[in-house]
Symmetry: D2
């Protein structure tokens, strides 16, 4: 037989620097292994209310948030299905794959979808939103992705929120991969439904959604005859489920709630500002390292680069999949690929939760630089790591 | 101030003998605390395929089952939404709260719902199914709950399956709380969609659905323009997601899959037959104890009593909530209440996974007997425990 | 080949009702899985001091206790080696295998060993201690085992302590298996060295000793040229190791200290009195059940029966090993055997930490009764369980 | 109030790169959280034998090794106390703090101690051992530390072993911090007692010793009337304790044995050669980085540098404690200090078990370089990291 076979034993990565699922905090992993309680046991019912309270503190909302029992795509689909009524005109703001994707759901439920789309390395201009309202004053719902993870870019959510509020429309914000890693909160951006999850910057595994819902959003959903009820997609079913004396519409994901509890404790005990600083510092070190190495970040400009994910443009002549595989096999680091339109064009280094620690930027740069060189690219990994270290040293 | 206040510290139960969420196996809890991997990491992709393979072995199907990332209500709703087309006539078999409940979902998607309903302490008679087909040969889909947990009763699923198959209709089986605790399998009962979950007899926390789907069910779903796609409710999206070289439609619940992996190992290593024996023995000991204590099981006859849950009729003059609270506070045991129509009429002692150990029947009887006596009922707890022990001793 | 082989798969017990190692609390197991820190890391050094402080609160001593890094036999041997000088006359009080055993260590280090020995189902009479001092006023050290676990009997430690103190002698107390399960503390019994461990009533795995040392015991050890130094047997080496700014003489058992931390939290948060009540209630239920079943507890009288272990006399005609094996294989319960002189004469049901929950008494009685009957004994298991339940119900 | 207070919250290190206690493998942490079994339960007794078997495979010995229940200082002291008889002449080889330290124990038990001591950045010359035997043919026991961790240096253990064997003397080897990280085994170096532990390169927490004992060492210990018996220091007590049908002399550290089991699985499944390669590569990358950064490793020459610890000379003008504190506080990395004579002169970067992953060398260099610069040293951190990456890239 001429053919040779190479059977390689695949080992777990030494470092997971993805933009989600993320390497969960050790304390979260331990919480996952807590005894599983019956959901109607009084201890669990009190506990669920207490976790909801902690989430409220973390989200800085006046009203208790809703926990949905599926990863945040559930929350996003549920938001579209619940808030958007069949006669609504929806303005969807698309600056990336996730923002664009939300439009498909919005279209499913609305009368008409209006869209502002910008290149996927750029951000929505609030002026364009203002202009859209001038042109279509009948816009009732606006949807926007704060951090479009597949691009590593941020949208100016607070400005957009002000415009939407001024026009009396409803705002759906996808802050799944930014909340917990920077200063973004539902009431600050005047979101009517603010969707996030514990599985990114809070350092949990995927499995839950956190939803902050404004009073007027509750009213609109209740008035919407098509809003899901008696369904996994229902937000309404869960309105009062956080109360210790109320039943759950269906069985909550006990262990994921245990994990969320631990993650919220970590977040609140370290202090949100301290957590955000870690994310900011790690990403700044990473970006400076990328540039010093001779590479380019994906976002069109520094100001819109996310502190929780650094998207790096794959150099000409390099295959993105080969780059990821080399970083993984040769250096033990698992990065995220691009997704949809950005797939093949960039790779992503996550800085979320546990890995939002400055030296992980150096780890990421080492693996990226080493992998690129193996593939023949001419990058100065040493300069990159040095630049990252300089940022960290001067913190 | 005259009033006195009693502030009691609520402590976790010493024993959780619920019919779900259940006290998970220790090895499952440890698996939950495994490192969280990036879902596109090659190790996770291989792992996911391997877990699917194990689930296939456990389910005894020829084709790989589907894992959905929400507890089994997701799987049930998804099955209704996907398999039932708008021109279908559906026969729903209701012998309890869950069976009846499925009818509401079926009605949402079908042209016409036909229903056979029996009292909730009884089981569906296969002859009635046969009769329904004679009357309505246009029935295309039949849905049935194998173990209607809120009643602790079983339906004759294999006989029903034969009839449905003979008429060329499609069969949806809810075996959520029976699979893993007794000899019930998708192909044996000729189910087209067989919905179960790891969170009952397999001893996992809630968070996933396991679905076995027949080839003709795949075809029917694909032909159904209304079958959910790009949705949390989609089964179709996940058809090939188990393959190591295929992407996930959205992020799977990594830690729950880790738990499922451990639970399947436990199940297959102990041996399904041995696991079922534990469930059968524990429930038999419990039922004999209940009767010897002077109480009555809820199912109309022994033959339809589930081996995974013993539903016990609450004696006249006793308040079910007070009974549960007394067992919990005074004896440290968390039982399940009834649900919907059975709420207030029965309490349930679960025998699932870890708690399907014969002596847990004695624990349950002690707590139940002790609590009943505190509430003034005249029960012979000693005779009950003695009868249970006799069953165990004579195994 | 004619012979048939029965290969039985040995499975883990469903219940561990031993008198040590005990089934650890779930929170302790989770603490064991905490990240392992470098012992000179400032967080660990602060943590170690904090754990010592908690142990001090639990032991109700003025001075910080010493943690030794081996299970309590290390602490006992170290106490003998350190406190007993070569010219000391030692009075050893032996009411069981462990008390007797300590005499062998004492003899190794002292000038002369005087011993009071009583039958191993009885307790030391304080009057005998008083008499010994009259006869031998040169007794310098007295050693006594509070709870002689292999007998399940208690010695009147507070009275003995008063007598020893009145004579100016030093007292070594082995309270390994009683502390944490009842009201026994170093200063209350005037112990100079009080040896206990987290691995019994505190619900930890074995691996550490807790030592409370009086000021005069420190002085005596320092003055003893033979007291171990630079040795695993040294107590002196660890005098200041609890201070965050002091080095450890050798590497402490990090994970065991993590477990101890969690166990002390559980103990102090539930409240020592509440914990003792659980132990007392469980053992009372067990003893009453044993008698109602027609069996006899090992201790000569109820007053000296330990609340943390119920030693049960094996009926005539029954083989103790067969009894243990039958309870284990047939009923899934792991009991403790006797030890040394009591081996073969009794079996022991532990009530320690997690298993000091009243219904575990019923579990133990069921397994014991069932096993005895299988072996042909005529016991009334139902009456036993009923009697235990009556105790629990009337708490 | 004039005084200002700075209360800093101390957080856990992001990276523990110590030379022990080491950051344990996640699978080891999970094993620590296994259910605690009664040591005389048949499952535990079988398990203990199975773990001993795995340890035998890992140690590559013909006879089962001994597990002692305390961290390796226990094993070292026990080896001295057991093997060295009061009329023995002992040759102790001291090339570092630990080697020297063993001499103190040896002296406690022997007739005469002969010592070869070399500077603590150097290694023992086998020729000197040969010369010592010529001068003192009555040497009966030779003791040597393979990897003197406080220096990060290795001794030529195989050559020394050959000489000792040729002279018919007994050899005690301390391989605590090298076994598992490189090719060193008891029979290969002809050790009579080979002391190691799971808490270094096997990635467990501290708490156990592994001892390989030759047949003639067993004979010598048995013939030694002073060899500890009925003591924590006894090796003899444990000779047969590994057998499933033999009792334990005292309670083993159940959870630590669980951890050892998992660690041995990891070691044997990855393959010892692969594990050693990781250690070698990581340390090589680290050493090359140190030099490229403009610093000096502590060992006098590359050939004697340990693959499991890189000891780095602290530059003139830099305070070692300040350096460690800066790396810890400013960069989140916990390194080891020197110890005894090497304290203040070097810092140590551990490469053991989980942290023997090439990119951890980069992490260590980043923290070290960054910290040195903060303290005013002129080091080229970028060049250091680049050099390390070059080693990794060219593997």
């Amino acid at each position: 037989m001429e053919a040779t076979m190479t059977v390689e034993r695949i080992v777990e990565p030494a470092f997971t620097l993805s933009s989600g699922p993320v390497d969960a905090y050790p304390a979260v992993l331990r919480a996952l292994s807590r005894t599983v309680l019956y959901d109607f046991d009084p201890v669990f019912q009190h506990f669920y209310e207490a976790v909801t309270d902690k989430a409220k503190v973390a989200l800085r909302t006046a009203a208790p948030p809703v926990i949905l029992h599926g990863e945040p795509v559930l929350g996003l689909e549920a938001a579209a299905a619940s808030l958007i009524a069949r006669d609504d005109v929806v303005l969807n703001l698309a600056s990336g794959v996730y923002g664009k994707g939300f439009g498909f759901w919005a279209k499913r439920y609305c009368a008409e979808l209006v869209e502002i789309e910008v290149p996927y390395d750029d951000a929505i201009d609030p002026a364009a939103v203002e202009a859209a309202f001038r042109e279509r004053p009948d816009i009732r719902v606006v949807s926007v992705c704060h951090h479009d993870t597949p691009s590593g870019t941020l949208n100016p959510i607070d400005e957009i929120g002000r415009i939407v509020a001024a026009h009396g429309a409803y705002l759906i914000v996808d802050a799944v991969s930014s909340f917990g890693g920077m200063d973004v909160h539902p009431e600050a951006c005047q979101a009517d439904i603010f969707v996030t999850g514990p599985n990114k910057c809070l350092g949990c595994p995927p499995g839950l959604t956190l939803l902050a819902v404004s009073g007027r959003a509750w009213d609109k959903m209740k008035a919407n005859p098509d809003a899901p009820r008696a369904s996994i997609l229902s937000i309404l079913d869960w309105e009062n489920a956080w109360r210790r004396d109320q039943p759950f519409p269906f069985t909550p994901s006990i262990s994921e709630v245990n994990a969320l509890d631990a993650a919220l404790d970590l977040y609140l005990e370290e202090g949100p500002e301290a957590v955000w600083r870690r994310h900011a510092l790690t990403s700044k070190a990473c970006r400076d390292g990328i540039r010093a190495m001779g590479m380019t970040i994906w976002p069109a400009r520094e100001a819109i680069a996310s502190p929780t994910t650094t998207a790096v443009r794959v150099p000409d002549g390099i295959d993105a999949d080969a780059l990821l595989a080399t970083a993984r096999d040769g250096f033990g680091v698992s990065f995220s690929s691009g997704r949809g339109e950005t797939k093949g064009k960039l790779i992503r280094i996550g800085h979320m939760g546990r890995t939002a620690q400055p030296l992980y930027a150096v780890v990421g740069l080492a693996a990226l630089g080493g992998a690129l060189r193996r593939l023949g690219a001419n990058v100065d990994a040493g300069a990159g790591m040095e630049a990252a270290l300089a940022v960290i040293s001067n913190q």
